[in-house]
């Protein structure tokens, strides 16, 4: 297992490096003029400022020279400085990442807690009214755009009923956790979509497992239906959910642009959007590094989860 982990970590490092090269090249291929995007069109009044900016940040050099310069700084732990938000990239990520982890993390956990029993229940009650009901709801929430769900929730539960706030908590990390009334709607918005997804996978997986020979054998040996379901079927059915969770980890770090925008919650997704609009390359690259690492870590954690859930899986 340790050998496996070391190999995967080395592969991950190479993967992240390749991702940075590709992204760096693609960013330089975006149409427009970085100096004008950063300094604003007013800089045209004094073209010397544009030339100074290009020289200062190396835009007068080939893209590979710029990349090596950036990589050198990265290896020294320097992610760079945001030209538009006027803060170090590390500081920006430090502010936005916890907010996103709170929002997306809580909604993912909530979705998991709700979706697994629902999927199980639907499979056990297959083709019964309860199955049809949850199937319909799953399709509805999975198909509905997040902005639509969020806006409807705001109009009903905030504007009309006044139960919850129309925007996510606006203070620091502490307020994100303590202003729970403001956190409810954005978490629920994200969770509804995720529940729809997870419950469908869970239902399908349980249905696959429930007709397996080992289930029949366990029942023939006298195990109760409840015991078979919770001890055997449930554990095996969680394997696809583990894959989904692993794939969700980059999302937890990358944020949820639409939900963050609707609920006025400046997290990682919104940071990425802002930076992309303004061609703020240092932030975009910092973001990519975080998400790339989260992706390989998520995939690694999913592999480990397989081994935990399925004793037949062993990594040499």
């Amino acid at each position: 297992m340790i050998g496996f982990l070391i190999r995967r970590i080395l592969q991950a490092a190479v993967t992240v490096l390749i991702v940075t090269v590709i992204v760096f090249f693609l960013l330089r291929a975006i149409p427009g003029n970085v100096a004008v995007a950063i300094l604003g069109p007013a800089a045209y009044r004094n073209p010397a400022t544009l030339a100074q900016f290009n020289a200062e940040y190396g835009f007068d050099k080939p893209w590979y020279s710029q990349y090596l310069l950036w990589l050198g700084h990265l290896l020294q732990g320097n992610l760079g400085f945001s030209w538009t938000l006027d803060q170090s990239v590390a500081s920006l990520l430090g502010q936005r990442l916890p907010k996103t982890i709170i929002l997306v993390g809580i909604s993912t956990i909530l979705a998991l807690i709700i979706a697994v029993p629902i999927g199980l229940w639907q499979a056990v009650r297959r083709n019964k009214p309860v199955d049809y009901t949850f199937t319909a709801l799953s399709f509805l929430f999975y198909a509905a755009p997040t902005f639509f769900v969020g806006t409807v929730l705001i109009l009903v539960f905030s504007v009309k009923l006044g139960w919850f706030g129309p925007e996510a908590p606006q203070g620091g990390i502490v307020s994100d956790l303590t202003d729970w009334r403001d956190l409810v709607l954005p978490v629920v918005t994200l969770a509804l979509v995720t529940i729809a997804l997870f419950s469908r996978y869970m239902r399908s997986s349980v249905l696959d497992n429930i007709s397996e020979d080992y289930v029949r054998t366990a029942r023939a040996k006298g195990a109760s239906r409840r015991r078979v379901l919770w001890r055997h079927v449930m554990r095996n059915s969680l394997i696809p959910i583990a894959t989904l969770l692993g794939l969700s980890i980059p999302g937890i770090f990358a944020g949820a642009l639409i939900t963050e925008s609707v609920f006025n919650y400046p997290g990682m997704g919104y940071l990425f959007y802002q930076s992309a609009q303004k061609q703020d390359y240092p932030v975009l690259l910092g973001f990519i590094i975080v998400v790339a690492i989260a992706t390989v870590v998520g995939s690694l954690l999913a592999d480990i989860a397989y081994a935990v859930l399925d004793p037949r899986v062993r990594y040499a």
């Binding site: 045209y44 009044r45 100074q52 639509f148 006025n264 802002q274 609009q277 303004k278």
Partner: protein, 636 residues
């Protein structure tokens, strides 16, 4: 010198994102109805605002910042990167007052009451100016002196060419040959020649923000920028670095020395700011509110959600804005429609002191440069721009026509009587066709018109235009503002009636400005474009006197299309040196007819929503400054 190309409020949000647009549409669909009101619009409107009530001392007013913008620079010496309304007018001006305040109600003129000095006194036919400071004080008790003004000018002299966002080569402070503080209250300045006094006050002195002596320092201690220009670069570098430490602003001993009515009590990097009254404020109106808060928003829709929720969410906005997509239609800019939030808020449209246009590239390398240089062609295209229909349609009535290089809203004596008579180029496709046919073009409606009579005679196509050349142009425009997209589609359709083919190319705002906001020859960028529309035109801030040296003078960096006209240059120079406003009239009347650009409607800057029990917010300033020290709550 130098105002800035403006990006309208609605373009500041997540313009290009389909998602955000969809959010706005949903919000619009879900809006509730109310009763209608009326308003007057002379720049900022005086809506049917509630009156009366008993003034309450204290309270907290919350102000919604424009979407997707947050203050990120506190040092009132903004380089191009930080040169924005949200940094200056919405933030720094609350703390640090400019030497001369512009904005008298809705009028973009000098406000002597809020200025730190008396009216400048000119002598030697306008070559010398004497400035006498009033009795204003910094919050640390020291007076605001003439030396504080010299400190700022010295810093300009040291770093303006690279670090002052409004700098124009040859402009302030290059055109000042000598400056000295003759006493703590008196400053004299000698210019390199005699200038129009209104212009010098409104466009040059307007840029100055005095800085306290305590800021004349570096990390190693006190410095001498106030007396020695060569010391200023190090001082600038130190203050710039302090300004980039956003988390330290509220507790900073540097930024805590203010002469404005407010001081910053808290700030976080998300853009949430809280101001409390500066108890030592020596200006005319002391704050009544106990606190003033500015809150950031990701999108207009997110802000609108909070407005709709009112106090239910616990985060009530007292002064916010209605997304343009939710604007209640009105029949004229002097009225407002049904406010969807009328039970809690009243609606007050704010028009910025600006003009709107899109440039044509006279230096185009696409082969269309010779066509664009023909006045008759520009006239034909302007006749196809239906400003009235755009205002009544996509703008829902919240707009005014641009009639030339001087804004028509608010009403000022800067606009000539000719300008006041309205759009000089009302929609007329018949005249457009006639102009083309009379100059040697074979007009093919819904096809592509081509030149059949090349040559330079008055009935020929014009110099440089070849036989068979077609009227076909690319037109990139900025996405994110629905009315601009609709206007462009409408113009495309109108132009097709006379065989002018406009290939629309929607792009993000920054891409369009990168292409079309600068003079491509001067800025050494590609000239491979014909027309470009970033949608916001030009706002006359902090240059309040609307002369044309920045936008239309030959060779100017912000003369986007590279328009060149010796008579225009001569008339502009007259406006800079003559004290008579007639020179401004002569120039604008001439240029309005010459069509260096295509004039397009000036849409509303913001549809402000103001909570019913808050007074003192209107009239809003067309120079975009805010004065929350005038605001107070009332109880009935």
């Amino acid at each position: 010198m130098g105002s800035f190309p403006s990006r309208r409020r609605s373009r500041r949000l997540l313009g290009a994102a389909c998602a955000a647009a969809a959010i706005a549409i949903t919000a619009a669909a879900c809006g509730s109805s109310g009763t209608s009101g009326t308003s007057g619009t002379s720049g900022s409107s005086g809506a049917a605002a509630p009156t009366g009530g008993t003034r309450v001392v204290g309270g907290t007013a919350t102000y919604a910042l424009p979407p997707s913008t947050t203050p990120n620079y506190i040092f009132p010496f903004d380089s191009s990167t930080y040169f924005s309304v949200v940094n200056a007018e919405d933030f720094q001006y609350l703390l640090y007052r400019p030497l001369y305040w512009f904005g008298n109600g809705a009028s973009p003129t000098l406000n002597t009451s809020l200025s730190l000095a008396g009216k400048p006194v000119y002598s030697d036919n306008g070559r010398n100016v004497t400035i006498t400071m009033k009795d204003w004080k910094w919050s640390n008790g020291t007076p605001v002196t003439a030396q504080n003004v010299v400190f700022w000018i010295h810093m300009m002299q040291a770093v303006a060419s690279t670090d002052w966002g409004a700098y124009v080569p040859g402009g302030f402070p290059t055109n000042v040959s000598d400056v000295k503080a003759t006493s703590p209250t008196t400053l004299t300045m000698t210019m390199n020649k005699a200038y129009n006094q209104t212009w010098f006050t409104s466009n040059e002195l307007s840029q100055i923000t005095p800085m306290p002596e305590a800021w004349d320092r570096t990390a190693s201690g006190a410095s001498h920028c106030t007396t020695t220009v060569s010391d200023c670069a190090a001082v600038y570098s130190y203050l710039d670095s302090q300004s980039k430490s956003l988390s330290s602003w509220a507790g900073s001993p540097i930024w805590g020395i203010v002469d404005g009515p407010w001081r910053l009590s808290s700030f976080n990097a998300d853009g949430n700011s809280t101001f409390v009254p500066n108890k030592a404020y020596s200006g005319p109106v002391k704050a009544t509110l106990a606190q003033f808060q500015e809150v950031p928003f990701t999108t207009e829709s997110a802000e609108y959600n909070v407005l709709q929720a009112g106090s239910a969410g616990g985060n009530q906005i007292d002064v916010g804005y209605l997304p343009t997509t939710d604007a209640p239609p009105t029949k004229s800019a002097n009225a407002i429609g049904t406010n969807p939030l009328n039970s809690s808020y009243y609606l007050s449209p704010l028009y910025a002191w600006s003009i709107n246009y899109f440039p044509l590239n006279y230096q185009s390398t696409t082969g269309n440069g010779p066509v664009i240089k023909q006045l008759y062609f520009r006239q034909a295209l302007q006749y196809l721009m239906n400003q009235a229909a755009v205002i009544s349609g996509p703008l829902k009535g919240y707009g005014v026509p641009t009639v030339g290089p001087v804004g028509s809203v608010p009403a000022t004596n800067y606009l000539s009587s000719t300008g006041k008579s309205g759009d000089p180029w009302p929609y007329n496709p018949g005249k457009a066709k006639s102009l083309l046919t009379s100059h040697g073009w074979n007009v093919v409606a819904n096809g592509t018109t081509s030149c059949t009579h090349p040559g330079t005679a008055t009935t020929d196509c014009g110099a440089g235009i070849k036989q068979g050349q077609q009227l076909s142009f690319t037109l990139p425009y900025a996405t994110g503002t629905e009315w601009i997209a609709q206007e462009m589609t409408q113009l495309q359709s109108n132009a097709s009636q006379v065989g002018i083919k406009l290939s629309l190319d929607p792009r993000p705002f920054d891409q369009v400005t990168a292409i079309a906001a600068g003079n491509c020859v001067v800025a050494h960028i590609s000239c491979n474009w014909d027309m470009g529309n970033w949608g916001g035109g030009w706002t006359f801030v902090p240059d309040y006197y609307p002369t044309g040296e920045t936008l239309f003078l030959s060779g100017s960096g912000a003369n986007s299309g590279g328009y060149t006209n010796s008579q225009n240059d001569s008339l502009i120079n007259d406006t800079l040196t003559s004290n008579s406003v007639n020179s401004l009239y002569t120039w604008q009347n001439y240029l309005a007819q010459q069509l260096p650009v295509i004039w397009q409607p000036n849409g509303v800057y913001q549809l402000s929503e103001i909570v019913n029990n808050l007074r003192g917010v209107i009239p809003q300033s067309t120079t975009l400054g805010i004065n929350p020290e005038n605001w107070y709550f009332v109880k009935s």
